[in-house]
């Protein structure tokens, strides 16, 4: 019944959006989360730091977490570029160790750690944000593992009855566990051990 041309009175016109402000907000958000931590980062603070009115934030994002999510995605996009693949040298063990070591390094780097941790924590508690976090950031990463493992399965390096979506969690799950909960240090050795244990099993071969 509503005139389809009439835009929803609450939807702003994104063609007129200020790109300069958007980027300034991303920068301010990431900087503040890095400096103050997520809980002490406020929307007012982001606006002030970005030299932007509060309304400009509220116009385009529903929450502080959403701002950070986008800012982080923007960051990831730039960093990603062409490397969005797990190498496939034919040696599954080596390829996995390589990528897991890289992940460990990323998790240990402050520029990544602070915002990613904040987002993950928020997603843990807020299902809507959590779903976005998974869909936009996590799942694409996980699909890379599926792809590489499928290749290994095709090459008969992984048993054919293995559910690859579960298999990848043997690598990613423990890593994330140590990262988020800080139980023990995240090292290359740990990454290697994970690959070994998961690929070859814990049991004595009989």
């Amino acid at each position: 019944m509503t005139d389809p041309k009439a835009p929803d009175s609450k939807t702003p016109d994104s063609t007129r959006r200020s790109d300069r402000s958007r980027r300034a907000i991303y920068d301010a958000a990431l900087a503040l989360v890095g400096e103050l931590g997520y809980p002490r980062t406020t929307i007012e603070g982001i606006a002030a730091r970005a030299g932007v009115g509060k309304q400009t934030i509220y116009r385009w994002w529903p929450s502080k977490a959403a701002v950070l999510l986008e800012a982080f995605m923007d960051l990831a996009e730039q960093a990603a570029a062409g490397e969005a693949e797990i190498p496939d040298t034919g040696d599954l063990e080596a390829d996995l160790k390589l990528v897991l070591r890289a992940t460990v390094d990323e998790m240990n780097s402050p520029g990544y750690d602070a915002p990613a941790r904040a987002l993950a924590a928020e997603g843990v508690v807020d299902p809507v944000l959590g779903a976005q976090f998974v869909e936009k950031l996590l799942e694409p990463q996980l699909q890379l593992y599926v792809k590489r493992l499928r290749s290994a399965q095709d090459a008969d390096d992984v048993r054919p009855d293995i559910d690859l979506r579960i298999a990848l969690e043997l690598f990613v799950g423990p890593l994330t566990h140590r990262w988020l909960l800080r139980t023990l240090p995240l090292t290359h050795g740990y990454a290697d051990a994970l690959v070994d244990y998961a690929l070859y099993g814990l049991t004595a071969r009989r």
Copy 2:
């Protein structure tokens, strides 16, 4: 030269603490987190629900999260009692599946999920609280796995070169991953698969 026995002038005298208030605060905190979720639970709200002055909370706990942590520990203590063991029937696979299925059930039960999730999220972002969470709640659980795995190692069911502290994370890590990040449903089947994959490895036997 300060009398080492002299307590910090700002430390309250715990021998005079009101037990009635402490319990009322635990109850109120858990109830409110269950009803409203963690972020909408406030210290003021807990105090009001518990029929307690705010200062009584601030006197004994440094933060909302700390209250919840203690409340949750108190809850766990009551629930724990004698069952704090992983069964050891000699069949490692079966024992692990049993305990992992139980863990899955726990994670799927709302009474546990809400406060545990809130605590975990808070711990992700606040290192001090995180350390307490791990030390008081998580690590004791993990040590049960170490114990059971050591028994298996002694029985030659697990290879002798395996680091058990890492091994356990092959089970617990993926479970926690799905629970916290809600990537996919947490089922008994998933728990079983985890045990199978971790024990016997992903690779084709050669």
Copy 3:
């Protein structure tokens, strides 16, 4: 080198001030002081009664007393209008008795007594507020006496060597004394006696 026009970064922009809120705060403050007395009137209470955020009060006034002072000044302004003069019929004694009796009536009226007493008491203890109270409310009143007395001096009804600023205190001082300290009742007879004694002296004429 700082731009002298640049307002203090913490000074709010008074052109954007809400007049509706200001008046509501005046009304609430006066009403509450009347109903509960000054010490039991709280800023929180004023805000609630006025349907206003607390910050709106703190933004514009430094203290509860300052709110009441302004509210009272606003009240006085409305009440004042054209009557801000001591009559000058040529009969000093009669004119002074008239105005002093009016003052007595005012001091005995509850609507004036409660807030004025509260302000005076606060001014007694807080020099800054006291100075404002005197400057904004009291001194203008006192100057009316100076004016009337000067007219009398010109007419040779008052000795030329009399310091009029001191003279007026012979009338106003005792009145205020009885009002504030409640030593004895404030009556028209008292006002008349004050005028008689001050004008003609206590001594036996020789």
Copy 4:
């Protein structure tokens, strides 16, 4: 009907009262009012400074103001001793100027000003305390004026129709007015002028 020997359960046994504590409380109260001002002086602060439990204060006094009133009376008692008289040299004018100048000096001395001002302010707002203040501290002083003026009246230095209770307020009222409201400086010259004006009147003698 109540056993007349049984003391009211709320009335403490004053024979067992600690004099040491009482004096310490007086000292602490006066010191704190001098240092912090009355509003920032708290019962907890007095107790801490006096090395006394809060209950010891609440047992013996109904309010902060009551403590200060007693402390001030105690102070006045010590200071008073034998000088509790207005001199009567036969020269009323000289005698009044002497005592008024002394009063001015007292009002200008910080040790007297702070607590007296605080008490007066509290009395302005709290009728019960005000009544005590007047009865215990002010009225005895005022009666000294009545006595001296009666002597003057007997000596025919003051007209016989003068109401002395009113007359004294011509001196005390303006002094108190300047002291409490800080309109203008309190000087010996002011005291002298007051005596002159009040005794001989403002009008031109005809």
